[in-house]
Amino acid sequence: MSATAVLPKRLTSTVARELAVAISGLLLVGFIISHLSANLLIYLGPEYLNAYAENMRSLGPLLVVARAGLLAVFVTHIVLAVQLAKHNRKARSQGYAIETRHGRKGAATRYMLYSGLMLLAFILLHLTDFTLRSHEGPNAMVGGEDLGLYGLVWNFLGNPIRAVFYIVAVCSLGLHLSHAISSVVVTLGWLSENGTKRAELAARAAGIVVALGFSSIPIYILLKTYVLGGHA
């Protein structure tokens, strides 16, 4: 018996699962906004970013609960989205001789699964880089000074290979969001046709803002390290 067989049927239909993907996705958008705002503290200097990290750590058990909740949302989003993608692929076993597209949606929609999987790979690396690693010691040393989390970010994103991977990953996040935000209003049954078209524009703008916001950090660090010299 599958895990979903015990749930009432109306909770396991494709429409219900799309709804769960949309709601978990919206929660993740909230997380991305808070994460990006916190990251931008790097421009204010080591004391601000490190103080923020210290404040987070001081939450203690609350932080554990928040992380568990975030993990649950991530797992729900990924498991259901992959499950639906498999279900959808199975719905047409023989494809067409010519595949053409006429709808108004573009690459972001077509490559949703791939941008999502790219993000998953990135998140795993990102967690081992910054969350699971000690924020002190040799990795945090910049110019002979231990700068804590700030130093760790500085050293890791100052590595051009990591920086490029980071930028590619946040661009795929932007692509993912530029479809997701326009799709969510349909899945949640929120907007009229005109409202949905406006949401498509807003989604594109949000995708660009998020991609630029996150990529500005490694670009800033690389510029400082290799061109301008020094750190903030």
Partner: protein, 252 residues
């Protein structure tokens, strides 16, 4: 004045649901540009029969774009390259002399192929049977003006009711999803007072049947809207999702 063109057809031939199909090439010679796509197939079939070749099987009935019987994927487009048109209303003036035309049936596991271009769309009937109706158990039909209906709601319900159930939405969808069809059939009733008493049960039952038939889910590619000969909008899927969300928290 009409002119004639010659085409190279590449048509999906499949003798029965069990047998494997393959593409066969045929020449369509001397086709009038005033002919419809189905009339072109009629001309080709006449020629095939003269050579004792089994004619190409295709569905058709009214040939005036209102019954929903016809349909094939032509060069990757459901109902061919012209928008808001059924295959029978597609005219050969849309093609150029010497064009290669690839003709395939709707491809979806929910629509098994019966023969050549003919698919079994019984799945749509079963989705309707699951709840796409209003139950009236007693009395006569009331007068049309007895129940006030706001004009915008009536307009949208009529737009949804334009659906002829041809299956182009499924054929065009990358997920072979029947969401647009199911949504139109739900929404034409959900928008009207007569549809309200059964709305929660209806959306749950029809979605369940849609899943059972092996169609995919909607990931908002908008291919269905582009292919629909009756220009049914994705907005109907938004409304279906809203109906479903409502049914999830309802007690009945």
């Amino acid at each position: 004045m009409s002119k004639t063109i010659n085409l190279k057809l590449r048509v999906w031939r499949q003798a029965s649901p069990e047998q494997a199909g393959k593409f066969e090439d045929y020449d369509a010679k001397g086709i009038s540009t005033d002919a419809s796509f189905l009339e072109m197939l009629d001309v080709v079939n006449d020629e095939l029969e003269r050579h004792d070749i089994d004619p190409i099987a295709f569905d058709h009935d009214c040939r005036e774009g209102i019954c929903g019987s016809c349909g094939a994927v032509v060069n990757g487009c459901a109902h061919g390259p012209e928008s808001a048109t059924t295959l029978c209303q597609l005219h050969m003036r849309k093609f150029k002399d010497g064009d290669v035309v690839i003709i395939e049936p709707w491809r979806a596991n929910g629509f098994p192929i019966i023969k050549d271009l003919v698919v079994d769309r019984g799945a749509f009937d079963r989705i309707i049977q699951a709840g796409g109706y209003v139950s009236i158990r007693t009395g006569q039909a009331p007068d049309a003006h007895a129940i006030p209906i706001p004009k915008p709601a009536a307009d949208k319900a009529m737009d949804a009711a334009q659906c002829i159930g041809c299956g182009a939405c499924v054929a065009a969808c990358p997920n072979a999803s029947a969401s647009l069809f199911t949504a139109a059939k739900i929404n034409q009733l959900a928008l009207l007072p007569q549809g309200h008493p059964e709305r929660n049960r209806r959306v749950v039952a029809m979605v369940e049947q849609m899943d059972k038939e092996g169609f995919g889910s909607c990931s908002k590619h908008y291919e269905c809207e582009a292919a629909c000969p009756k220009e049914i909008k994705v907005e109907n899927i938004t409304a279906m999702n809203r109906e479903y969300r409502r049914a999830l928290i309802a007690r009945d």
